[in-house]
């Protein structure tokens, strides 16, 4: 019988994978639901004897089965999008059934945990430290240092908290780990627990990810006997972007409003319920089993400068070959967008690429030489964040994007500090006034003369722009967390590189 492998991740399903799977089953094939290869522009993608077909609709399958389909893409493993990658974290992607303990064990699963059990907590932390692994959630803080702090803290109870809030636009690698290889994340958490002396772990998943929640809950149940005495539990967020911030996430887990806590104390010392807590991103924890199984040196051998190992990069927006591309740090932005991503899907020129989600800067093609690396982006007024890339073509209106960034901050602010809570709303007003002068979206602009505190003479455009820059500085330096502190990145980068969209 013909065996057909089709992903059951949320993206494949949203693109119609269930219908395609049903059609193959009705045609007498044996259908296996596996994780996704990450070639998302080809979803739903079917694999038969290693050969790929996509993007499929149910009506395509007769031709797939009789060998005349125009949607054949050849051997999947040899496809350039796959062959060019260095897959550590996503080594099993596309190959295993997500909830099969057998598939996981046969393909290298639990080897890292076995190693950690063999060498003990201290040596495990040493491995993670030597690997150079930095937090993948955005800030890039060394995982080994965080773990050492928690390990050295004295307490009756410690926690591992996996940050699976993944609220940034253009990011989906956490989701793909949870939906495609959930045991890997549980193994990473169990290793972290062993290393620092934490018996309990929480995975905090955003409510926008119902498929990931279901898979993780099933995986936690199925693997409980393997990771014991470590106990993992899934918790569901409630639709607040700021709950991705680690202290806000802890408040949310405790059942409080997701307001950011001032640091210090660090969560490593006083975290969940006041106990020492490791808070790490999904990709950070998911990298650990590989590091333990293959050794710190093998991981650190890949990368660029102080950015060691691989990064699962997420190509999204108006891009021809959108999907997940894991590779060592150091690949240039231009290679990612133009060569790997194939440029825009619309076929029009690229105008801007936002890197790092709603708090990340917009980069023009003139910056395509930038190597993908924490320091290189920071030195260029940008950030790599969770490594999501959003490609825009030349129809993008960059002052509208700046307005969106400010408004997003206003909608999602936790409200704790003034520069963010008030500044973001003032920022939206300012950008609206600036846009109105260039004839854009005038309907959204308040008419100043009716305001009791309005100026007699309107400011000049130059003054308005200077005011916006000033406001951004205040938000940057006066905000308690990166929501208010980094919103200036998309705003100022749009203003700097595309002044014409602000009428300047």
């Amino acid at each position: 019988m013909t065996v057909v492998r089709i992903s059951d991740d949320a993206l494949a399903i949203a693109c119609g994978a269930d219908d395609v799977a049903d059609a193959f089953a009705k045609a007498g094939c044996s259908v296996e639901r596996v994780s996704s290869w990450g070639m998302q522009w080809l979803e739903p993608l079917a694999e038969i004897d290693g050969m790929g077909f996509g993007p499929l609709e149910a009506s395509d399958i007769a031709r797939v089965l009789d060998g005349t389909s125009a949607k054949a893409i050849g051997r999947i493993e040899e496809h350039p999008f796959i062959a060019k990658q260095q897959r550590f974290t996503f080594a099993r992607a596309g190959k295993t059934r997500p909830l099969s303990l057998d598939d996981y064990a046969v393909n290298g699963g639990w080897q890292g945990l076995a190693k950690a059990r063999e060498i003990g907590g201290q040596a495990t932390i040493a491995q993670v430290t030597e690997s150079g692994l930095r937090g993948r959630g955005g800030a890039g803080f060394p995982a080994g240092i965080k773990w050492t702090t928690v390990a050295n803290a004295l307490a009756d109870q410690k926690y591992i908290v996996c940050n699976a809030d993944e609220g940034d636009s253009a990011t989906f690698a956490d989701r793909m780990v949870m939906e495609g290889d959930p045991f890997m994340l549980i193994e990473g958490m169990a290793i972290a627990g062993l290393a620092v002396g934490a018996s309990k772990g929480y995975v905090y998943i955003r409510s926008e990810y119902p498929h990931a929640i279901a898979k993780m809950e099933a995986a936690v149940r199925a693997s409980a006997h393997i990771v014991t005495p470590f106990v993992a539990e899934v918790r569901v967020g409630a639709g607040a972007y700021v709950c991705g911030e680690e202290t806000s996430l802890l408040n949310s887990l405790e059942g409080k409003r997701g307001e950011v806590r001032a640091k210090p104390p660090l969560p490593a010392l006083e975290g969940l319920f006041g106990k020492p807590t490791v808070v790490n991103n999904v990709l950070t924890l998911a990298a650990v089993p590989w590091i333990m199984a293959n050794g710190a040196a093998a991981y650190a051998a890949v990368g660029f400068g102080r950015s060691k190992g691989t990064m699962p990069i997420q190509l999204a927006g108006n891009v021809k070959h959108g999907g997940l591309f894991e590779i060592g740090f150091g690949v240039t932005l231009g290679e990612l967008v133009m060569t790997i991503g194939g440029g825009t899907e619309s076929g029009r020129p690229v105008r801007a690429v936002q890197v790092g989600g709603p708090l990340g800067a917009y980069h023009p093609p003139a910056e395509f030489h930038l190597p993908f690396d924490y320091e290189a982006f920071a030195a260029n007024d940008g950030l790599i964040g969770h490594a999501g890339l959003t490609v825009f073509d030349d129809t993008a209106d960059m002052s509208a994007q700046a307005r969106f960034a400010m408004n997003f901050c206003a909608v999602e602010s936790c409200g704790k500090c003034t520069p963010c809570r008030i500044g973001s709303t003032r920022g939206v007003e300012l950008i609206d006034r600036i846009r109105a002068r260039s004839g854009r979206a005038a309907d959204k602009v308040e008419t100043l003369p009716q305001m009791h505190n309005a100026r007699r003479a309107p400011r000049s455009l130059g003054d308005e722009i200077a005011l916006l820059e000033d406001l951004c500085e205040t938000m940057k330096f006066g905000s308690l967390c990166a929501l208010g502190g980094f919103t200036p990145y998309p705003v100022l980068s749009a203003l700097r590189h595309w002044p014409e969209d602000f009428g300047a």
Partner: protein, 137 residues
């Protein structure tokens, strides 16, 4: 009320049970009523203001029922780059369907995307989105 007590009891012994309880209540009745807030507060030994503060902080929880079917349409950057704003401008008006903004469903290379209940829909255009709304109207 009996069902509410069941829900609260099913989370007894959990650390930080408030959000899981609120999720179950919201799923059962489509909102978190004044009565539910009172009962939850008393069961968890919190003030009603505390529980109200939490309910009102999170976008997922509502204190009043939503009479319409809800389509959560992603309006975040990657879906913008793929034309969601043009789609919004051309949205047909179905009186019994509410289109709500959501920020990212993690399907950012195949947008514009939407979620209805827990079902996700990708590569939407005016025709596909209109057809989805029609099924709810």
């Amino acid at each position: 009320m009996e069902r509410l007590e069941q829900i609260i009891a099913s989370h007894a012994g959990r650390e930080g049970p408030l959000l899981p309880i609120l999720h179950d209540v919201q799923a059962e009745w489509g909102h978190v009523s004044e009565d539910a807030i009172r009962a939850i507060a008393s069961a968890l030994n919190l003030s009603r203001a505390d529980v109200h503060g939490v309910v009102s902080f999170y976008h997922d929880f509502h204190e009043a029922p939503e009479p319409h079917a809800v389509v959560k349409l992603c309006r975040a950057e990657a879906c913008q780059a793929r034309g969601v704003e043009a789609l919004v401008a051309a949205l047909p008006d179905y009186p019994r369907v509410k289109v709500e903004a959501i920020y990212c469903l993690g399907l950012c290379s195949v947008g514009p995307n939407a979620m209805i209940g827990s079902k996700v829909h990708a590569r939407l255009d005016a025709g596909k989105l209109g057809a989805l709304m029609e099924t709810l109207a």
